[in-house]
C-alpha cells in the first residue's frame, strides 16, 4: 500500500494563521461577557513580614467594590504545584514583594486604580534573603531570623526546596573513582558560572475571564475560567482545591494565547483562581488582565543559577571525571523548582562521555517572587556553565575548543551520566563538522585573527555543543498518563481532541498534519478543537518539548484506530480518496451516531528510571545540537553584538520546515537576549526594571542572520520520527556567544547577562595597577586598544 507521506515534512498554512494575520483571532482581552466586572490585585510592598492592620481609604466608595481576602476562600488557600506551600492569597505572612494579599473587583475598570491605591497595609517587617549566597549563609550560620522556608511534606530542608545527587554509577564506587581520577589527572580545571533571571516577556500579558455559578443558598456550584494559558488541566486542578469542588465542576478554556514560553505554565493557576474568587464574591463574570509592569514584577522568571565545575582531564584532552555543583534561586515558594532543578541536573554533564560524574544540585529559597518555568527549564543554566567550562578546559590542555569536544562526545551505544543507553543514532561529530563547515569556521578564525590586529572592532567565533531531553523526565510521562481522542464531526471531518495548547509554536498545525497523514486525507480536512476541559481529555501540560513527540504519537495512534474502524465498519477502501473518507465517515455516523477513538500514553520502549538514585532513562529521546556564534566587540563602546549565528541540530524528522525554522530562530533570539541584553535588576527582592523601556529584549535591529540546519534522524518515539524541538535552541546561544567574545578579545566572562559595562570593567581592571591582572586575559588580543593605564 503506498503511504501518503506528503503532509508531515511539508509546510501547510498554520491552522489559525488566517485569523491571526487578519487581526480576527480572539485573545482574552478581546473577550467581553455580559455584565462583566474587572479585577485587580493588592500586593505586598515589602519582601517579608507579618501582615498587620489593613486600612481602607475613606474617600473611596467601597460599597461599589467586591473585596476578597484569604478567609473568603471556600476551599484550601493554596496554589498547588508539587507541594502546597504557595498560598492563593497571603493570610498572615508575606514572603516576597508583590505577593497577592487582597483582591478587588469593580464594574468600571478605571475605578480599580483608586481602589488599589486606597488600601494601606501595615506590616511587621522581617529580614529577608535575596541571593543564593544569603540564603546559604543563613543556613550555615544557623541564622534563624533568615530561615525563610522550613521544608514541606514534599521534602526540603531549611531554605532549601530540594537537593539531588546524581552519580554516574553506584555512589561509593563513583566517589572512589572520582578520587582516583582527580589523583591521576594531568590537569584539574575549576570554574564558577552564574546566570541571571530572565523574563519570558510574551507580548500578551497574563489574563483571564472567570465565571462562577452559585445555588440559591449562595454556595458555589461551578467555576469556569477562560484565559491565556499553556496547561488548562493545571488550572482545573488549582480550582478544585481553592473552591473545594470536584473536577467536573471546574472548567478551563484556553483562548488564543499571545506567547507563553513557560510563563503561562503555572501562573494561570494564580490569576485564574483569583478572578474566579472575585466572580464568586461579586456575582458577575470578572476579567483580570495584568498590565506589563505588574506582569513583569509579580509573575515567574527563569531561575538565577550558580554552577561550579571541577574537571579531571588528561593531557591529551580526555575528560576523566567531573564534579558539578548547581544552585538555583527558587524564590519564595517551591512551585516548580524541584523539577526545574531535575532538568538542570540531568543536562549538567552535557553531550560528553565521562567515566565518573557527580552532580550535586539544590534549589534555595529567597524572598523573591517564585521563579518558574521558562523554555529550557534548568537546562540553559547548567549548559551555559558546562559549555563555558569546556572552553576553559581546552585552553588549559592547549587544544582547540572543537577538538576537545570532538574527543569526548557521546555516541550511539554509549551511556549518559544517568546510565541511559543511547540506542538511537547519535552523531555529534558530524553535527560539529557540519556546523564548522557551514559557518566557514576555520577560514574566519584565521581572517579575524588577522583583521583584529590594529582594529578597535574585535571579531571572534565560539561554539557550544549540547542536547535537550524531549518529554517529561524519567517516569513523568507514565505519571501524566495522557489521553488523546480523535472523533468525527457531523460533516464527516475528523476533529482532534487534546488539552495541548497552541501559543505560537505550532501545536494546531503539526497535530493536524499527523492526523491528516495517518488518515490519508488532506490537511485542510482535519479540525482541532480549542482546548476546553469540558470537551477535551487531559493530554497533559504543553511543556517540556513533549507535544510533537508524545502527543503527536498519540494523535497518530488515535487516527490509525479511527481509520481502521472506518475500514472495517464502513468499508472504506485502501488507497481511499478524501471524498470516500467523508462518505465512509458519514455512513458510520448514520449507522452508529458517533465515532470517537481515544488512546492513552504507552511508552514506545520501556522506560527504566529510578527517581531516588536519579539513574536510568532520563528521557525517551534527546535532540542534539552544535551552535556557532560570530561576534564583534567594539572596544570604543564595549558593546558586543552578533554578526552571524549558525544553528545545526538533529531533532528527528522535521514535521513542518517553516515552523521548525521559526522555533529555532525564535529560541536563538531569546538565547541572544539571555546572553547580552536581558538583565533583571533586583532591589530587596523587587524587580526594579519591570518595563519594556528598561528591560531590553532584542529588536529586529539587534539580531544577526540566523542560519538554521537540520539533520533528520527519525526516532521511534515520535510520530513519523519526530522529537522535541521547542526548548533546544534556548540552551546553546549564551555559552557560544561568551566563547566567541573570549575568542575575539581574550576576555573570559563567566556570568550572563553580559552588558557593555561588564566588558568595560574587566578590560579596565586589567590595566589598573591596583589589580593583580586577570588569569583569563590575553593582552596580545586586546593589543593597543587596552584602556589607558591609570597613572
Amino acid at each position: 500500500m503506498p503511504e501518503r507521506d506528503d503532509i508531515v515534512g511539508t509546510s501547510p498554512l498554520r491552522k489559525e494563521g488566517r485569523a491571526k494575520v487578519l487581526g480576527q483571532a480572539k485573545y482574552i482581552d478581546d473577550l467581553s461577557l455580559p455584565g462583566m466586572w474587572h479585577g485587580a490585585t493588592v500586593r505586598s510592598s515589602i519582601a517579608r513580614g507579618r501582615i498587620g492592620a489593613i486600612h481602607f481609604a475613606p474617600e473611596v466608595d467601597w460599597s461599589q467594590f467586591a473585596i476578597v481576602r484569604a478567609n473568603d476562600i471556600p476551599g484550601e488557600n493554596t496554589i498547588v504545584h508539587l507541594t502546597k506551600d504557595h498560598l492563593c492569597l497571603a493570610a498572615d505572612m508575606v514572603n516576597h514583594p508583590e505577593e497577592p494579599i487582597l483582591l478587588l473587583a469593580h464594574q468600571e475598570k478605571a475605578a480599580l486604580l483608586a481602589g488599589v491605591a486606597g488600601v494601606r497595609i501595615e506590616y511587621d517587617e522581617l529580614p529577608g534573603v535575596f541571593t543564593i549566597e544569603e540564603s546559604e549563609a543563613a543556613v550555615a550560620n544557623n541564622d534563624v531570623d533568615r530561615i525563610v522556608w522550613e521544608g514541606s511534606e514534599y521534602g526540603g530542608t531549611a531554605n532549601c526546596f530540594k537537593q539531588y545527587v546524581l552519580y554516574s554509577g553506584e555512589a561509593k564506587e563513583t566517589e572512589d573513582g572520582l578520587a582516583a581520577a582527580f589523583e591521576a589527572a594531568d590537569y584539574i580545571v575549576e570554574g564558577e558560572y552564574h546566570t541571571g533571571a530572565q523574563e519570558q516577556l510574551y507580548i500578551e500579558p497574563n489574563g483571564v475571564v472567570a465565571e462562577c455559578e452559585k445555588d440559591e443558598k449562595g454556595n458555589v456550584v461551578s467555576v469556569c475560567v477562560r484565559g491565556s494559558m499553556q496547561c488548562p488541566y493545571y488550572l482545573v486542578h488549582a480550582l478544585t482545591l481553592v473552591f473545594g469542588l470536584p473536577e467536573e465542576k471546574c472548567r478551563a478554556i484556553q483562548t488564543e494565547t499571545g506567547g507563553a514560553f513557560g510563563g503561562k505554565e503555572d501562573f494561570p493557576s494564580v490569576i485564574g483562581t483569583h478572578a474566579a474568587l472575585l466572580a464568586m464574591k461579586c456575582g458577575h463574570p470578572v476579567k483580570m488582565i495584568y498590565d506589563r509592569a505588574e506582569d513583569m514584577a509579580a509573575t515567574t522568571k527563569r531561575h538565577p543559577s550558580r554552577t561550579r565545575h571541577r574537571t579531571a582531564v588528561s593531557k591529551d584532552g580526555k575528560l576523566l571525571a567531573c564534579e558539578i555543583d548547581i544552585a538555583l534561586d527558587g524564590g519564595a515558594y517551591a512551585t516548580l523548582s524541584p523539577v526545574v532543578l531535575s532538568r538542570a541536573t540531568i543536562h549538567a554533564p552535557g553531550p560528553y562521555k565521562w567515566r565518573y560524574v557527580r552532580v550535586r544540585a539544590k534549589a534555595m529559597a529567597t524572598n523573591l517572587p517564585p521563579h518558574g518555568a521558562f523554555r529550557g527549564f534548568g537546562a540553559p543554566q547548567s549548559l551555559f556553565a558546562l559549555e563555558r567550562h569546556m572552553d576553559k578546559v581546552a585552553r588549559v590542555v592547549a587544544i582547540s575548543p572543537e577538538e576537545l569536544r570532538r574527543r569526548n562526545f557521546l555516541a550511539t551505544g554509549d551511556r549518559t551520566a544517568t546510565g541511559q543507553l543511547l540506542t538511537e543514532p547519535v552523531d555529534m561529530r558530524h553535527l560539529l563538522a557540519r556546523a564548522l563547515e557551514e559557518s566557514d569556521y576555520y577560514a574566519k578564525l584565521a581572517r579575524f585573527a588577522q583583521e583584529n590586529r590594529g582594529s578597535a572592532i574585535k571579531r571572534g567565533l565560539g561554539i557550544a555543543a549540547f542536547m535537550h531531553g524531549s518529554g517529561f523526565t524519567g517516569s513523568g510521562e507514565r505519571r501524566l498518563n495522557s489521553v488523546v481522542a480523535v472523533e468525527l464531526l457531523a460533516d464527516g471531518r475528523p476533529q482532534i481532541l487534546v488539552s495541548s495548547t497552541e501559543f505560537g509554536q505550532g501545536t494546531n498545525t503539526i497535530l493536524c498534519q499527523v492526523a491528516a497523514q495517518t488518515l490519508r486525507i488532506p490537511y485542510e480536512q482535519v479540525v482541532i478543537a480549542q482546548p476546553d476541559t469540558a470537551l477535551v481529555p487531559d493530554s497533559g501540560p504543553t511543556v517540556a518539548s513533549r507535544t510533537a513527540m508524545v502527543i503527536g504519537k498519540l494523535v497518530e495512534r488515535a487516527s490509525a484506530q479511527l481509520l481502521e474502524k472506518l475500514r472495517i465498519e464502513s468499508g472504506l477502501p485502501e488507497d481511499h480518496t478524501p471524498e470516500q473518507f467523508t462518505q465512509a465517515a458519514l455512513a458510520y455516523l448514520n449507522a452508529h451516531g458517533e465515532l470517537r477513538c481515544s488512546v492513552r500514553y504507552e511508552p514506545v520502549r520501556p522506560v527504566e528510571w529510578n527517581d531516588e538514585l536519579f539513574h536510568g532513562d532520563a528521557y525517551p529521546a534527546y535532540a542534539w545540537a552544535v551552535y556557532v556564534a560570530e561576534v564583534a566587540v567594539d572596544l570604543n563602546t564595549y558593546s558586543a553584538s552578533l554578526t552571524r549565528f549558525d544553528a545545526m541540530q538533529e531533532v528527528g524528522k522535521i514535521m513542518h520546515p517553516v515552523l521548525a525554522r521559526g522555533q529555532i530562530e525564535g529560541g536563538v533570539a531569546q538565547g541572544i537576549g539571555y546572553a547580552l541584553y536581558e538583565k533583571c535588576v533586583w532591589k530587596d527582592g523587587r524587580m526594579m526594571n519591570n518595563q519594556m523601556t528598561n528591560y531590553i529584549m532584542p529588536t529586529s535591529a539587534d539580531l544577526p542572520e540566523i542560519h538554521v540546519y537540520f539533520e533528520e534522524v527519525p526516532s521511534v518515539h515520535g510520530p513519523c520520527g519526530a522529537k522535541g524541538i521547542g526548548e533546544l535552541p534556548m540552551d546553546g546561544p549564551a555559552p557560544a556567544i561568551l566563547n566567541a567574545i573570549e575568542n575575539a578579545t581574550g576576555l573570559g566572562f563567566d556570568s550572563i547577562p553580559l552588558l557593555p559595562e561588564d566588558i568595560f570593567e574587566k578590560a579596565h581592571s586589567f590595566t589598573d595597577p591596583a589589580h593583580g591582572g586577570s588569569e583569563d586575559l590575553d593582552p596580545e588580543k586586546l593589543g593597543e586598544f587596552l584602556p589607558e593605564v591609570n597613572a
Partner: protein, 157 residues
Amino acid sequence: MRASLQMTVNGEQRRVDVPPIKRLLDVLREDLDLTGTKEGCGEGECGACAVLMDGELVNSCLIPALQANGARLCTIEGVSTEGRLHPIQQCFLENGGAQCGICTPGMILATHHLLEKHPKPTLEQIQEGLAGNLCRCTGYMRIFEAVRKAAEAQNAV
C-alpha cells in the same frame, strides 16, 4: 469631560463621544470594537498597538483621542479587502511571519508603512523599519522573509 470626535477609520466616518485623553488604543478597542489592535506594554515600546494615522505609523497607546480628531486611521481590520488577504498578510501567513500572532497586526501595519517608503527595502531598511515592533516568538527571520516576499509581490503587480 467628554468630547465628540470624528475620525475616518478604515475608510468609514466614525464619531465617538469619549474623554479627550482616552488612549486611541482604547477608543479603537472599546468604542469602535476593533480588537485587532493589541496592547503589549502601554508605554510605546512594543508596537503591538501600532496603527496608521494619516499615513504615519503610530503607537495608539500613546495617542490621546483628541489628537486623532479628524484623522484618517488604518487598523489591521482595514488592511484586507472583503475578506481577501492583502499580499502582506498572505506573505506573513505563508512564510511563518506570525507565530503567536499578538504582534502580528502591528507588525503588518509597520510593514505596510515600510513598503510605502521603501518599495524595495534592503535588509537594513527592514530591520530599521520594524525595530519599533517587538516579536518574542520568531527571532524576526521569518518576518524579514515575509516582508521581502511581500515587496516582491507588490512590485510584480
